[in-house]
Each structure stands twice: as structure tokens, then as C-alpha cells.
Subunit: 234 residues, 4 copies
Amino acid sequence: MAQLKYEHIQQEACEANLQLPKLGLVLFTFGNVSAVDRALAVFAIKPSGVPYDELTPAKMVIVDFDANVVEGTLRASSDTKTHAVLYKHWMNIGGIVHTHSTYATAWAQAQRDIPIFGTTHADHNTVDIPCAAPMSDEMIQGDYEYETGFQIINCLKERGLNYEEVEMLLVGNHAPFTWGKSAAKAVYNSAVLESIAHMACLTEKINNTAPRLKDSLIKKHFERKHGSNSYYGQ
Amino acid sequence: MAQLKYEHIQQEACEANLQLPKLGLVLFTFGNVSAVDRALAVFAIKPSGVPYDELTPAKMVIVDFDANVVEGTLRASSDTKTHAVLYKHWMNIGGIVHTHSTYATAWAQAQRDIPIFGTTHADHNTVDIPCAAPMSDEMIQGDYEYETGFQIINCLKERGLNYEEVEMLLVGNHAPFTWGKSAAKAVYNSAVLESIAHMACLTEKINNTAPRLKDSLIKKHFERKHGSNSYYGQ
Amino acid sequence: MAQLKYEHIQQEACEANLQLPKLGLVLFTFGNVSAVDRALAVFAIKPSGVPYDELTPAKMVIVDFDANVVEGTLRASSDTKTHAVLYKHWMNIGGIVHTHSTYATAWAQAQRDIPIFGTTHADHNTVDIPCAAPMSDEMIQGDYEYETGFQIINCLKERGLNYEEVEMLLVGNHAPFTWGKSAAKAVYNSAVLESIAHMACLTEKINNTAPRLKDSLIKKHFERKHGSNSYYGQ
Amino acid sequence: MAQLKYEHIQQEACEANLQLPKLGLVLFTFGNVSAVDRALAVFAIKPSGVPYDELTPAKMVIVDFDANVVEGTLRASSDTKTHAVLYKHWMNIGGIVHTHSTYATAWAQAQRDIPIFGTTHADHNTVDIPCAAPMSDEMIQGDYEYETGFQIINCLKERGLNYEEVEMLLVGNHAPFTWGKSAAKAVYNSAVLESIAHMACLTEKINNTAPRLKDSLIKKHFERKHGSNSYYGQ
């Protein structure tokens, strides 16, 4: 049966989507998660506009890396092409999340990178969270969601950043995208980003000349969790 | 039986009212929703000052478009005349909501339109959320709630806006009103407005020279959800 | 039995105290409510430092208007004398609440009256919420909680305000006190005050020259709910 | 059986850790609590990176004051050495908490002491909440978590403060640490600190020249709860 072939990523995508409202990252249907199967070269993604409490694994739409629907009766998320582009170009990601979470979106609307102010940030990234420029009129009037994927890819490229190290980004005037080894990790990154965005906003309010974190501390905290000698977790 | 005649809008209005506390839009009884039946030319509205957890469909008061009570033993919401005026003049709305939700009310108190800063806003409106001027002393001392309806209608008219496209507005010094094709859609709009109001407040804090969204992006996002070629939802 | 004599106010005070955590107005035990019986000239008040989830009516301490414990095995709230002074001088109040709710306390710490910016405020008060000056060293080193009661009474007196019209006040550097016809009404006032304090804080952030509400609108809204021709509620 | 020997502190540490998400002080696993047994000269601490809803007393790791694991199959919290240093040098503490709670962390990132603005603060401390300087590169590149403990101890020492009176501190660029007679008291202090940090942030926003609390009021409130003649609680 065709259906069972994709059951594992439908299950993974469904569970990850259900985490978004639990973590306070979405209002109504304003967010979507996908999970990929690299061998089959397809991903499972949330159907468009369906409330989270009505989601089931079987409703997840199966799409290939050119954004063609492979299986599913519902229309896929309107952001599907963005997911497809990222999966196609970034070989080592397993899941992608897009939300309009309050604080991260406010930074995107303000068109500012989120400065690295503390160890909570450094535990996850060694650089400011990049805010890609708003897209050009040409891109917007063209294949918009497809181009959104390239805006993300090119922003990292221009800054010399690696998608395996920096797993979160703001699209200027729009909202955050995060990714990771799995859909669950991508959701985790969305929640971390929202927390970092909230704290950074408060930090500037408390001290409008607050300096960025110094390099030694950035390096130390990131390596605690991610270096070859990391000693966080089990 | 007279009662059964209105049961469907009483049910619709009751369910929609119960969404307000669930969505965090009201403290105590500070909000009300109505649902209309165009054929019968009446609407069902929340009774005044009754706690949400005591609401039942049968308690919804039936009122005509001149604000006369047609059926119901409880006193109708003190804002009933505002609802009546809007239903009378706007033929195509099915539901109306009034709340004092925190962030939208703060913008109303600040007497400022909410600038369109991002795609969350553009997904729902192509313009800044209008803040109508505080009402004149004459209107306040006259038939206040009736005049509140005209203040809303005239604000849209003066700005050349269509109530079928812009379904939310702030009354200066007071609070938000939203409407829509149904009571449920009007409630949805209230929650969206509160989220937009929150994000806009943060955006200005993070970047006090944040620019408004550019036209190409406004057009694109609104059309994704609302244009003739919309591709959001099922 | 002596115990049954006070059961009704113990019940009223207990229920009202339990509302504080439900309404998000207290952390741990940082708040207390009392309920009075005018005929018996005593009030029931929360025992000091007892967690809300351990409260029962029988644990409420019965105190007279000179702050003498009449019945009860637990130590009464450390703020008991403030309650006693207010009951003794204000003949028509039935309940008192003291909390350290976040936004109202922030205004108290900022030593500012809360400006009347909108109709949410005017629905409950016609004036700015008064912030009494921090107490003098003499009062602090004297009978502190007793003097706190006089600080509240004198603040209203100096401003020509009536405790039956203005049922909420901030003590500078400290926190809010509210009162009302019943303990439940006093709790309602605490929640309203917190909401007004939050909105006013946001209003100034959105527009740092936001004007106070004009007199005609203040008068209209207050009379809707409180005047002889009020038409709010059932 | 070896296991039963440590059961009481494992139980205490587990229960205290479970309070952190309930009090809204942690996202995912970003926090840890330990509880000490002075006679046995060991403490029980949260295992690293284990979600709170999977914690059981048996999973708590037993560690001595030189940070050697005495019992336990899981890896101890990455902050274990900081706990060990504090227990070794401060004879009279029974529990320690580290979180990245939002408001307290924002002050740490802003590298500012939290000014004592009101009685909520004075009920718990007579001084501004100290923010230790960010650590030196030498300390960071050395035995980082061990040195974090000394940064805390030295900050108090330099300011002439006693760890039995001041039970909370921010490490600059990092986050808060709190302690107390028991693990439960240390958790209580973390929640109080977060509330104080939130209120102080708002106070400065409402009045950017808000003065610190005067000495008479600091003394009075602290003594109400902590002096030899304290009269708060049972």
C-alpha cells in the first residue's frame, strides 16, 4: 500500500505540528512543519489552513523536492515551495518549521538581526540570528514562496554561514524559519528562537547600550553543547 | 414556537461569545459578540454583564436593526445599538465583535492607526488598521452607542475603505470592533487584530524607524489569502 | 457555637482569596482578602503566609476593627491592621484586597498616578488612579501597617475623592489596595486595576504624548455603569 | 542498600526540579536544582538534558563537593561544578537553582544590578540584586563551571554581602543563580527574583527616573519577614 510507505514522516510531521500550539508559537493555523525522507526524496507537510486540533498523520501531504504533490487529498501548506527548495539544497536537514511567533516576528518586522547578548543564545548559535533583507519586487511578483527559499539560502551564503550550524533565520518583514536534523529539532529551534528574541528585546530596553557577548564566552557555551568535547545531555 | 425561530443565531452567537475568554481577549464580561439572520432582519447578542461561563444560547437576546428587542428576558449588551447600526448599513456582514483586548485597546488609547509592518498584517489587511477619532461631545452626549456605529462607518468612508475588505477598526480612546461574514469570522478577526497590535508595538520598540511594508509584499500576501487566485486553506 | 457565627464571612473571604491566583494577581502568598460583617463589627481575613491551595473557610482569622483577634488559631495576615483601619473609617465597604500584582505594583514603584487613557478606565473610575506618596519615616518606624491605612484614607481625603466612588489606590513604593461593597467586588476591582495598569503602560509606549480622556467621555462611560440611569448589567 | 542512603535528597531535588516548569521559569531543560545532605557531604542534582516530565528521584545524580559522581548512571547537569563550589564554601545552604528565566536573564544580559524599587523586593533583600561582572577570558577558558562558582562567591565578598542574607545573584551575560536553606526555598527565590526583575523593568519604563526605595522602608519590610521580631507567616 502506497499509504504506509510515507506513514513514518506523516507521523513525525503531525506530532511536530502539534507541538507548535503547545509551545505557544502559533495563533490559529499560522505555522507549519514538515519532515523529510531522504531515501524517498519526499517530505510530509501540514495541509493549508487546517486547525491543529483536526490534524492527523493521514492528512499530512506528501510532496517531492520540486514541490509536486505525490500523495494526499488536501492542499499542501501555502509555504510548501519554500520547504521544497530548502530540502533540495540542504542535504542534511530533516525538518523545517515556519511560524509567526510574536517576538521573532517583531524582530523580522523591525528588519534587524537579533544580537547575541547572552549564553542562552550562545548555547545555540555563535552569531547574531540573521535577518534576511525583504525580498525584491521581482522575487515577490515571481514565484514568491519558491524565491523565499532562495532568499534564506542566499542570506546564509552571503554571510558565510553554514546551515548545519545556524538553524534559524528571520525573513525581513515576514517571520522566522527554522530547521534541523529532524522535525522535532526544528520545532525545538523555533521555541528557542522565540525565547532568545524575547530576552534580546528586554535586554535592549534595560540597557540600550548592552554589548554583544564576548568571543570567549560564545565559544565556550557553544562547545559545551555542540563541540567534539560537548558535555551537555546524555 | 417563537423560540426555535432564532435558535440558529442564538447558538452561533453563544458559541462565538464563548471563544472570547478562550482566546484571552476579555477580562470578566468586557466583550460581546452578535450573529445576524438577514432574512429575519434580526441579530442575537450577548446579554449585558452576564459572565461567559453562565451563557447559554437561550440567554442571547434577539434584536432588530433599529435596536428594538424582539425576544429575550435579559437586558441586551449595552453596545447593542452599535451592532444594530452596523448591521443596518453593512448588508454583507454576518457577525460583530467588540472587546477591550489589551494591545488593540492600548493602540486605541494612544489614538494611532496600527502601521502595517509585516506579512501577518498583510495576510488580513492591505492598509494600516484605522483608528477612528475620539467621538465629538455632541455624539457622546447624544445617543452614544448609536453614534459609535456611525463613527465606525464614517471613518471607513472618509478613508475610502470598504467594510468587506477591512474588517477591523479601533475607536479612539475606546477599543476595537471587528466584523465578518459570520460571528466566528468576526471573533477570528479580533484575535488576529490583538496579535497584530502586539507585534506592531514590539516592532517599534526594537526599531523606532521601522518602515511600513512595501506595496508589492502587501499585495502578494493579501492575494494569497483573499484574491481570486488565492491558494491558502482548503 | 461561636464558630458558626462567623461562617458566612469566613466563607466569603476564603472564596475571594481563592480568586486571586485564578486571576493571575498573586505569586505564592503575596496577597490577602478580607470580608466584613458590619453588625458583628468583625472581619474575616487570610492567615499569614498560608498557600492559597491550603486555605479553608475555617482557617480565616476573625478580627475586630481595632485589629484584635476575636477567633482563630492561625496568625492573621501581616496587613491586618491596614484592613482594620479602613473598615473602621469607611462605613460602607464590605471587602478589601491587597496584592502585589505586576503592573499595578510597577506603577506604585514608579510613584505615578495611572492616567485615565480610555473607556476601560472610565467604566470604573472618573479620575486617575491615585498613587499615595511613600510613607514618612515616622509612620514606617511607628505602627507601620496601621499607618498604611491612614496613608490610604488621607490620600483620598487630600484629593477630595470619595471611597465609595474610587475603590482602588496605589501606595507609593509598595503596591495596590482595592475595596468594594463585598470581598468579591474588591477582588474584581483588583483585576480591573491590573488590566488598566497594563494598558496604560502600553499606551504611553505607543504614544508618549497620549492625552488623557476628555471629560464628556469619562462622564458618559462612568454613568453607563454607575449613574442613576445606568444601563449595564442585569 | 546504597540507593536508599540518598533517597531523601533525590526526592527533594526531584520535587524541586519539577517546580521549575510549573512556575514558568524554564523552557525545555534550561534549568537545574540540587539538594544537599551536609552529614553525607553530597548533593543530588538533575541529570543533564533530561526533560522535566521524565524526571524521577532515582535519576538524580549524587555528587560530592569536589564534583565527583558518587552514584548515578546518568551524566550530571553541566552546571554541577558550580553547585559543588557553592556547597563547599557556603556551609549553611541546603539547595541551589540555576535557570534562564526570561526577565532575570535579560537583566544579566544587560549587565545591570536590579535596583530595589519597592517592598516586594525589600520583603526578600535589602540591597539591589547583584549582577556579577562577566567572567574573564582566563576563567572561561579554564575550568568554566568551577570558576562560575567563584565568580558568584567573589561578587558577594567584594560587595560585603552575606550569602545567608542575599540568596540570589545574576552572572553577567549569563543568567540567575539562587540558593537557600532547602531546594524548595531556592526555587521560591528563583520565582521571586523573576517577579522582581519583571516589575523593575516595568518601573523604569513607567518612570525613567524612579528612585530607589528609601532605607526606612527597606528595613521595615525586610524585618517583617526576616528580623528577630518577624511577624509574617505561621
